[in-house]
């Protein structure tokens, strides 16, 4: 049965998923070409000076990709469930309580995690060709919160989409914006070195929020 739910989710999100992958590839290609071009034009020494002494970060273009990917993927998956209240069909499937929603959320989070992990690993593989371990670790502590924010945004979009009332939906949007702001406090290299656990904790904390919306829908709460 879980395979059938995955099949349904894939039908909704296939083209959005392909789109996210294409943007991911184009974005990395652009960044790698830009850095390679800098190597050739200003030289390795100057680039090193910029990165090490002036704390410049070469991967700022990655900043909003994960959050955009999380929001778009979430919308592509949950908006079709909300149109004409199709979520009723999903909730009527003969599965234990919340199982269908759990599989849907797991599908989205796993697919996004795979995409983001490959993206981060590819970046690391490229960076380790030119920079030492310290710089790589610093870079990881900067970009990982951005990617986690993509997962958090996805969880919030699921919650917001399935919420049955507009008043609470708007409140949830404000909550999402304020929470996501925590992931963009600073893009100084290694800025999240000492509070990365907090960032991970937030992402786990918000995952079950979608069930609040589902329970409210099942109670028949309306505007």
């Amino acid at each position: 049965m879980w395979k059938a739910i995955i099949y349904k989710e894939w039908k909704k999100t296939k083209w959005f998923n392909i789109g996210i992958w294409m943007v991911a590839i184009l974005l990395l290609t652009y960044i790698f070409m830009k850095i390679g071009r800098s190597f050739r034009f200003v030289g390795m020494e100057h680039l090193w000076d910029v990165v090490v002494n002036r704390d410049q970060f070469l991967f700022r273009n990655l900043k909003y990709f994960p959050i955009a990917a999380g929001i778009i993927f979430g919308l592509s998956q949950f908006v079709p469930e909300v149109i004409e209240k199709r979520i009723k069909l999903t909730l009527h499937l003969p599965l234990p309580k919340h199982r269908a929603i759990l599989i849907m959320i797991a599908y989205g989070l796993i697919l996004l995690t795979i995409t983001f992990t490959i993206h981060i690993l590819t970046t690391i593989v490229f960076v380790q060709l030119y920079f030492p371990k310290e710089i790589i670790i610093s870079m990881i502590f900067t970009i990982v919160p951005w990617y986690i924010s993509g997962l958090v945004a996805y969880s919030f979009i699921a919650m917001i989409s399935l919420e049955p009332t507009w008043k609470r939906r708007i409140f949830n949007i404000i909550l999402m914006v304020l929470t996501l702001d925590l992931f963009y406090i600073s893009d100084f290299p290694g800025a999240y070195r000492f509070n990365i656990y907090l960032v991970i904790l937030i992402s786990i904390y918000v995952m079950p929020f979608v069930f609040l919306s589902v329970n409210r829908f099942k109670k028949g709460i309306q505007d």
Partner: protein, 294 residues
């Protein structure tokens, strides 16, 4: 007889607005019950409560003996649900949606679905979102037939359908439920369709049930009388006479009384009439007679 659905003291309010209070009804196994009511009387509310999409303000509904707010997967497998507007996963095509649902129902009858789909004469790879309302209704019905549920809940099945598709839907459904001894709970705006389908009717007015009885019994006992009289005003105070009105000099009333009893009643109330005519009613006319035109 075993009751498939049982609602006890069902009460629901949207904010301060009362939909109904202490609603009680049962649907025995193998019966087809039509829920009739004007807009806003709580038909869809009742369907939502039955399927666990709405928590009632009071009372409870049991389906196969389980609380409708917390149905087990085994019970959900026995319930075929048609949502108002024949809503389905419209991002799928005919083949994909059959493949999807077949995974959830052990008694899945693929041939019942494709038998109905063959009548549509459309490309099996056409997405449901690009189909007409009539075609979508057949897809939704085909999926329910393939599921082979013991109980069918159909919310306003005739919504948006032209007469041809309405007839196709009713004929197909009628044959299926009678052959397979299924229990059906159905609502529809178009009462002519219901007359051809249902065994029992439950007529809702704002806040309460007017009656629940077999359609045959209703149509054999409920009548409209037309006659000439000076004014219908005195009729308004007689409780056995429903919705008296005078149209173009002719007065009409609806009642369960037989002709001779009506004459006696009018005589007792000193109301003189002429040209008394008794009309047999269709279900739609009986519905109007019970609920009023307005």
């Amino acid at each position: 007889m075993e009751n498939i659905i049982e609602c006890k003291n069902l009460t629901h309010y949207y904010g301060d607005r009362r939909i109904y209070e202490n609603l009680n009804f049962k649907i025995p196994k193998g019966r087809i019950l039509g829920l009739l009511g004007k807009n806003g009387t709580g038909k869809t509310t009742t369907i939502n409560i039955l399927n666990g999409f709405l928590k009632p303000s009071g009372g409870k509904c049991l389906m196969f003996g389980e609380d409708s707010g917390n149905l087990s997967p085994e019970t959900k497998q026995k319930v075929g649900l048609l949502i108002e507007g024949h809503v389905q996963y419209s991002f799928m095509n005919i083949i994909e949606i059959e493949k999807f649902y077949s995974a959830f129902y052990p008694k899945w009858k693929k041939e019942a679905y494709y038998g109905l789909m063959d009548l549509l004469k459309i490309d099996p790879k056409q997405k449901i979102s690009t189909m007409s309302c009539g075609q979508r209704s057949q897809v939704a019905l085909g999926l329910i037939l393939a599921q082979d549920p013991e109980l069918l809940i159909l919310d306003d099945f005739s919504m948006g359908l032209d007469p041809g598709y309405r007839m196709l839907f009713v004929d197909y459904l009628n044959e299926y439920v009678r052959t397979e001894n299924k229990t059906v709970f159905v609502t529809s705006h178009i009462i002519q369709d219901m007359e051809r389908l249902i065994d029992d009717c439950l007529i809702l007015d704002y806040g309460h049930i007017i009656l629940q009885k077999p359609v045959d019994e209703l149509l054999n006992t409920f009548r409209r009388y037309r006659f000439k009289c000076d004014s219908h005003e005195p009729l308004l105070s007689i409780t056995d006479l429903l919705h008296p009105a005078t149209i173009k000099g002719e007065t009409e009333v609806y009642t369960f009384l037989e002709k001779n009893k009506l004459e006696l009643l009018l005589k007792e109330n000193n109301i003189s009439i002429e040209n008394l005519i008794e009309d047999k009613l269709s279900l739609e006319e009986a519905f109007i007679g019970l609920t009023g035109k307005y």
